[in-house]
């Protein structure tokens, strides 16, 4: 069964350093998402991506964050200068299509990358 994969599973970094979190979405999917989950809290939407550009982003997704799909396979989230409060689980999700006229198309989540900022 196809699945979303994420690497690394755990990333430890020093405050102020840049990190890149990587995701490989399911191959025929067109919509891609990043979410984060601070320990013990709810999952929060960060950004959605379609057709090589950002569709939507939340208030959390400020100038320190960027996403790209460099090679048509990987989907990356970059944090330029990490802060302590960036410590969280980061989930990538992908979706086949999006239409409000038909049944919702499930978002498939990856296992997450745990980011720890020291």
């Amino acid at each position: 069964e196809p699945e979303v994969t994420q690497t690394p599973s755990h990333q430890v970094t020093q405050m102020g350093q840049e990190v890149i979190l990587r995701c490989v979405p399911i191959s025929n999917h067109l919509y891609f998402y990043w979410y984060r989950q601070i320990l013990g809290q709810k999952v929060e939407f960060l950004v959605s991506f379609y057709n090589n550009e950002i569709s939507e982003k939340s208030e959390i997704f400020d100038d320190q964050f960027s996403v790209e799909r460099p090679d048509g396979s990987n989907f990356t989230l970059k944090i330029r200068s990490t802060k302590l409060e960036d410590s969280a689980m980061y989930f990538c999700a992908s979706q086949t299509s999006f239409s409000r006229d038909i049944s919702y198309n499930e978002q498939f989540f990856g296992p997450g990358t745990r980011l720890t900022v020291l």
Binding site: V4, Y31, Y33, Y35, Q41, K42, V43, E44, F45, S48, Y50, S55, E56, S58, E59, F91, A93, Q95, F98, R100, S103, Y104, N105, E106, Q107, F108, F109, G110, P111, G112
Partner: protein, 113 residues
């Protein structure tokens, strides 16, 4: 932004009993609701969904009920099994914008053997 919350943070049930997990939402424009299951160390896993033009939908051992009048959503799990132990999140999408999910805070279900 939208507010999706849960009534109870934890729920313990005996194996074989039915479980009911509740969720409240505040955005009247929400038109699609999803229940996710999250096991320890894993990403959210889709369980069942329901559109706002429905009030009930059944899956395998699970039923979702939607009461738009009071903005309430529930997940019923029949004959709860130890493998059902996890955190359950409700999520919704608003009518406007892209297909971004807004999650509630989660309920931890513990099944007692």
């Amino acid at each position: 932004g939208e507010s999706v919350g849960l009534h109870l943070p934890t729920l313990s049930v005996q194996e074989g009993d039915n479980s009911i997990i509740n969720c409240a939402y505040s955005n009247s424009a929400s038109d699609y609701f999803i229940w996710y299951k999250q096991e320890s160390g894993k990403g959210p896993q889709f369980i069942i969904d329901i559109r706002s033009n429905m009030d009930k939908r059944q899956g395998q051992r699970v039923t979702v009920l939607l009461n738009k009048t009071v903005k309430h959503l529930s997940l019923q799990i029949a004959a709860t099994q130890p493998g059902d132990s996890a955190v359950y999140f409700c999520a919704e999408t608003a009518e406007t914008g892209a297909n971004n999910l807004f999650f509630g805070t989660g309920t931890r279900l513990t099944v007692i053997p």
